[in-house]
Structure formats: C-alpha cells, structure tokens
Amino acid sequence: MNRIAAYVIRDLLRSRWTIAYLLFYLIVGYAVLFLSGDISRSLVTFLQIVLILTPLIGSIFGVMYYYTSRDFMELLLAQPMPRRSIFLGQWMGVGVSLGFSLLVGLGIPFLTYGALYEADKGPFILLLALGVALGFIFTGIALITGLITDNRIKGFGASLMIWLLLAVIYDGIFLILLMQFRDYPLEKFALIATLLNPIDLSRVILLLQLDISALLGYTGAVFQQFLGTQTGVLVAAGMLTLWLLLPAALIRRLARKRDF
C-alpha cells in the first residue's frame, strides 16, 4: 500500500492542480488573516472555506485521478500485489497530496501570523486537521464511485452529487424539517442527522472547541446541551473516524469483487 501511495504522491505533487490548490490557500490565507486583522472572525471565514472546499476538491480530484490512472492501474493489477494495496494506496496518496496542499497553503500564513501576533494556535491546528480528514473522506467516496462505474460522466456526476448533498442540500432539508416539525421534540433527530454528515460534524467539532455559542447554531447547541462540550467533541471525533473507516472498508470490498 505504501509503495503505491508513495508513487501517487510523487506524481501528484508535481501536478499543476496540486500546486494551484496550494497557491489558492496561500493567497486566501494571507488575504483573510492580514486584511481582516480579527483572529476569531478570520477563523470562522477559514472554517466556511475549508468545509466547502476540501470536500469539493476531494470529490473532483479523487474521481479525476481514478479515471486518469485507470489504464495504468491495469499494469499495477498485473503485479504481485493484493488489490486492496493498490486502491487503498491510491486513496492514501491522493488524500496525502491534497492534505499537503491544505497544510502548506494555510499553514504558512498561520505560522507567519503566529510569529507576528499573539494567537491561540489550537483552533488553527484543529481546523487544518479537520480539513485533511474531510479531504480523505471525500476522496474515498470519489474513489468508491469510480470503482462502482466505469462511465466517467456517471462517476463524476455521482461524486459531485454526494458533495452537493452533504455540503448544501443536507442543511436545507434539515432546516425545512426542523421548521415543519418545530412543535415536536427534535433534539435527537438533529443530533443523529448531524452525526451522519461529516461536514456538519467537522463544523460542530470546531465550533464546540472555539466555544463561540453564537455560531454554534441549533445542532451545535443540541450537541452541547446533550453531551456537554467535552463528550460532544469526543462523540463527534469518534463519528468522524468512522467516516474515515467506512470508505476504507467499502474500497476493500469493491476492489476484491470487481473485474478490470
């Protein structure tokens, strides 16, 4: 697995797209931090960007990489390696490359700011960690859609639809349901609905840590009320880990059964 991941990383770190993605974060990082000057407001801006962008780029990049390397994969599959090594290695490689862009792209502005001004580093580190985790989750989902269908358009479409569903539509449906059924006790529903969406989970983890109750929103408040800040963070982090294990299990299963 590591041998495959290492070559994917070497291939991707030279790709124009990885570099463009890194530069984007670098520019946005400096612009937001130094133009706004307000550290907690910057952090919330970064949170919004990272929560939307890392899953989106993970989805697009994951599926694009799967299809463009499809023919080379034939050569890899003919080598004396188990299939799971090839696909888990590919997932690892794409996830690490995207994580690298995020860590370096936002990390450098954070470090510069930290060197110049007093700032609590914890939330920034957490934000980067959540971004990397989301990148992995959505790259994994993208790889799964690739493994399910050989039709590039369907695979690309499915991957984007899942992103759209979890990043945008989910919250909309969630809000409509909350409005429609506001006369009923909805806390448990809200709690479960949040646990089932990795993007919402990441938002809640960071906001609970930051303790900005005004931004917690309904789900964050439910988390805090039901589980308390510490347990809330632990439950959410545990669930996020499950979200990372799920693609791994599915990739293994799909890779074992498929014909190439």
């Binding site: 041998r3 495959i4 070559y7 994917v8 070497r10 291939d11 991707l12 030279r14 790709s15 463009t68 390397s69 023919d71 080379f72 034939e74 050569l75 890899l76 599959l77 003919a78 080598q79 004396p80 390696m81 188990p82 299939r83 059964k257 014909d259 190439f260």
Partner: protein, 242 residues
C-alpha cells in the same frame, strides 16, 4: 508440459457471454499467439490468468496451482498491456525504477534501454512522449524482469520497423532461454513469424488450437492471414441458416 491451464472458463459481462467454457493449455517454452476478431474474448482470457477478471466458472492453473484470489504467483509473470498509459508526471527513469520496487524484484533495464534507444528520453515526463516512445518504455518494463512467463498484448502497437525487428529478436532470445510467451497481435505477418502455437478464439469458444503448421494444413492455406480468414468464413457459414 503445460505452464498455464485454462479449464472450462466461463465469463459473462451483463448480457454478454464473453468466454463460453474455454479449456486450453499454454505449453512451457513456447510462443503462443492468442488470436481472434475484436470482442472474441482474447483480452478477457489473458486477464483471467492475471487475476484482473474473475471467471464465473472454471479454473486457471499456473504451474498446477489455482490462481483465483491469489497474487504472489504474479511474481513469475509480467504483463505488457495494450494501451501504454502511465502516470503523467513521472519521468521515464522514475517509472523504470518504480515497477521493480512495486514488484520487489530485481530488474535489468539497461541493455533494453540501449537496445530500444530509450536513453534519448529517459529524463522526459511520460506526458511528453509520443505513442511509439511510450510503447518502447512499455517493452523495457515488460522484458527487464527475469520471469518464466511474459504476456504481451499487442506488443507491436506504434513501433517503428527497427523496434519491431528488435522485438522479434528479443522474443526469440527469451524463448531460447526457456521462457514462455503469450501474445496477441493484429499483424498476421508478425504472428506467422513469431508464433509457435496458435489459439484462435471466436465468440467465446476456442475455434482452433495447435501449431502454425497444423493451422495451415487444416485450412489448406499458405499463410496465417489466409488461414484466419478461412476460419472466420467457416464459422460465419456455420452460424448462418442454409
């Protein structure tokens, strides 16, 4: 002796039954060409041996052992795929270093790099190469390992005449060393020159299996091209109502 044995292989992709009970032995130390029109199941058959396609029924044996669900047996074979597409951003040199690392096997690329004149573009990235250059890299990757079985899918694709002549010599040298080669090709002249045995597939069945001499004799023709045309006509006549 049979190095590879396909035993009653069936494979269906959705409504399409690609392999319909194929049984054939690949003899050790021989160059066997797998022929057949597009869609006859050549590549699918080869892929069942490589573990890339899992048969619905039947067994694939390599050195007497079933290969299904295993992967270590592939240390003893190399595969040269038909379409040479490689990671875009790796250089030729890196790719030639990568494959032995993945296989955990020693490789001897230098004589082949010299022979196919790959040294001119060793430092270039794969996406800067022409089709013919990529195919030469593909050849280096396949022939640089010392393994008993080579599987070459359309090895002449995109090669210039000089490289094709070198490939022919190389294939002969390898079988002189006792290696087994399975290959497919659309160039009947190449097949006639290189194959010692022929397996002709049609619509998922084996239509002919044997030496070139036996093929020419049974079809009463003078060339593989004419023999293959004859076999296709025969099958066509059989499937058409009188």
């Amino acid at each position: 002796m049979a190095l590879v044995r396909f035993h009653h292989i069936h494979k269906r992709f959705g409504p399409l039954e690609v392999l319909r009970g194929i049984s054939v032995d690949i003899l050790e130390g021989q160059r066997t060409a797998i022929l057949g029109p597009n869609g006859s199941g050549k590549t699918t058959l080869i892929k069942t041996l490589l573990g890339m396609v899992i048969p619905d029924r039947g067994e694939v044996l390599f050195k007497g052992q079933s290969v299904i669900g295993k992967y270590l047996y592939r240390q003893e074979m190399v595969y040269m795929p038909q379409i040479a597409i490689f990671p875009h951003n790796l250089t030729v040199k890196e790719l030639i270093a990568l494959v032995p690392r993945l296989r955990r096997q020693p490789a001897h690329p230098d004589p082949l790099i010299e022979r196919f004149e790959v040294h001119h573009f060793l430092e270039k990235r794969m996406n800067e190469l022409s089709g013919g250059m990529k195919q030469k890299v593909n050849l280096v990757l396949a022939f640089m390992f010392d393994v008993p079985l080579l599987i070459l899918d359309e090895p002449t694709n995109g090669l210039d005449p000089i490289a094709t002549i070198e490939l022919k010599k190389l294939m002969e040298e390898e079988t002189h060393k006792g290696k087994t080669i399975i290959f497919s090709s659309h160039l009947m002249e190449f097949v006639q020159h290189m194959a010692q045995r022929i397996v002709f597939l049609l619509e998922g069945h084996i239509y002919f299996e044997g030496t070139i001499e036996a093929l020419l004799h049974s079809t009463e023709t003078a060339s593989v091209e004419a023999a293959v045309a004859q076999l296709m006509k025969q099958s066509h006549a059989q499937t058409q109502p009188a």
